[in-house]
């Protein structure tokens, strides 16, 4: 398994273990957490919608690309779906390799591609009771200024 979607809390220790290898001297980990604010609004929880048939296929492709591009030994990414509370791990990327340089680069590549290519959406639920779909990654790539909204 290289990429998976989970509707239960991510077992961080298990993900680290899955990429463990005695020939590797480096492990790069990225965890995405549920933050209590965004765009000036106080957030109470997040809801992730994932279209699994495409997300799983495309997610595995991203991992394969990272393995080939950076020559790392192992890489694994798990993304949550459903309703998440503050502080929960929404996504984890673990990359192991003989040395740290390529592990950092591959880890960055995987999370960046995951954010822009996979059919995953998040809805923020606010302290005020309202909720909204978030699309800031795309705003940024389209040259959209966050000051605009």
């Amino acid at each position: 398994m290289k990429f998976a979607v989970s509707n239960t809390p991510i077992d961080v220790a298990a993900v680290r273990k899955a990429v463990a290898d005695n020939s590797c001297g480096a492990l790069a980990v990225f965890e995405g957490w549920i933050r209590d604010h965004n765009e000036g609004q106080a957030v109470v929880r997040l809801e992730y919608e994932v279209y699994r048939p495409v997300a799983e296929k495309e997610g595995a492709r991203i991992i394969d690309e990272a393995l080939e591009k950076f020559g790392v030994s192992h890489a694994l990414c798990i993304h949550r779906e459903g309703l998440l509370e503050l502080g929960e791990v929404a996504v984890i990327v673990c990359v192991s390799s003989p040395h740290r340089g390529e592990a950092f680069e591959a880890c960055r590549y995987i999370i960046d591609e995951t954010k822009t290519r996979l059919p995953i959406w998040k809805k923020e639920h606010y302290v005020t009771g309202g909720s909204e779909w978030v699309n800031c990654e795309q705003c940024a790539s389209a040259g959209h200024s966050h000051g605009d909204h």
């Binding site: 779909w133 795309q138 389209a142």
Partner: protein, 79 residues
């Protein structure tokens, strides 16, 4: 010809439906989106929207075949 259009997240809320069959003259994925956007007034074109055909990511200019299922993805926001 007939195609199935499926909507996700924001698009599903804007159209008020998960999927529908469209009987039309045919064309590209972009043209199908244009057609359904005329039907659902609240469906807004998003520059960063993505499209998949039969569960594979695709380009907006892909010409659709009879029976293709077209998945309209509003701007994604994983992580």
């Amino acid at each position: 010809m007939k195609n199935t259009a499926r909507y996700f997240a924001l698009f599903r809320e804007q159209t008020g439906c998960e999927s529908e069959t469209i009987d039309w003259a045919g064309g590209t994925a972009a043209e199908l989106f244009q057609l359904v956007a005329e039907k659902h007034e609240s469906l807004k074109t998003e520059a960063a929207a993505l499209v998949a055909i039969n569960d594979e990511m695709a380009g907006w200019e892909t010409v659709l075949a009879e029976g293709d299922e077209v998945l309209f993805f509003p701007p994604v926001a994983g992580g």
